[in-house]
Subunit: 202 residues, 2 copies
């Protein structure tokens, strides 16, 4: 059995990456998903989606002391981190795992998980991203301006990822992610044992 | 419009690559296909499939003198070559092109067409390859032994390709090739202008 592959997925707020991920996971139910540890208080929308594991600051710092994170960060006084063990266990079992993370976390993962395949989800344009954020109507004009500023900074990191996928049409973007995952398994660097097996059974 | 991508596809005789290619071309009618120039005499099966352009030795050597081939070879006294112009024209028009070629030709193309994505089609095992060649019943036992020897030599080159695809189930192999082609277009190295476009339209 060959090792699973970690996929690191980023994209600016409003690019639709959560919807893309939900659809990809529906199409590929065997794909694992990394649950981030965070210390910020729960919001109303957090409970259902299982994206986060909520820890106390003490619990988080204990894990930090044990080197239990593949990457971590502090943002607005709260810790965020990708726990190492669930990722390593999935990969060892031959299961792929999707890690949704911001560009700073992805930069750390490039060091700690160098075999990870990076995917960056792009909005069709910054103008369309602005429109989506305005339509979402959850942010003030100041917050939208801040998000757009942040989006530009993140999109400038897109060339550091292996793949960039424009989320203009959702179905296309979902198929794109699935193709990247499928193709990653076919790389010859991932199939050295396959070639040897074929040669062995003469 | 972004440039097309060349895909170089190899695999030992009997691995089913012709059937895979036919099916991929049906699913992706926009995919170009490189027609090889050869100087060997036509066989009965050659006429229909349009895989080859038959040239006289003089014509071939004229083209050679004009550097009109991306790669060429001499095999059993006959010339074989991949003409440069159709490939370059397709790529310039944004059209992908599939180049089916043996491992020696592929090695030359790695020099002359470094952006090419290499795909190697593997049989499930050498034992199954032998069975397929025997069932095909077009070769003598000596020819089969020679083909298997050659297959082993070719399969040993598989790690030089970007992707290896096992043709055990035909539908799976066809989907695999299509995923590789789709994913190749999403590589960030192929999308520098896409990222810049997104940033421009603020």
């Amino acid at each position: 059995m060959s090792r699973g592959i970690p996929f690191v997925l980023s994209g600016p707020s409003g690019c639709g990456k959560d919807t893309v991920i939900t659809r990809v996971r529906q199409k590929m139910p065997e794909l694992g998903f990394s649950v981030s540890c965070i210390t910020r208080p729960k919001r109303g929308s957090d409970k259902e989606d299982g994206k986060y594991r909520f820890l106390s600051v003490g619990e988080f710092e204990n894990m930090l002391a044990q080197d239990a994170f593949l990457e971590h960060n502090v943002f607005l006084g709260n810790y965020y981190g990708t726990p190492r063990r669930p990722v390593e266990e999935a990969l060892a079992k031959g299961r792929d795992i999707l890690i949704e993370i911001d560009v700073n976390g992805a930069a750390q993962l490039r060091e700690t998980l160098p075999e990870a395949v990076g995917i960056f989800i792009l909005p069709p344009s910054l103008a369309k991203l602005r429109k989506r954020l305005e339509e979402r109507a959850t942010d003030s004009p100041e917050q939208i301006a801040k998000r757009l500023h942040e989006a530009r900074r993140e999109i400038e990191c897109a060339p550091l990822y292996d793949y960039v996928i424009v989320n203009d049409d959702l179905d296309t973007a979902v198929e794109d992610v699935c193709s990247v995952i499928r193709a990653a398994h076919l790389r010859s660097s991932h199939n050295k044992s396959t070639v040897n097996e074929v040669l062995k059974n003469a």
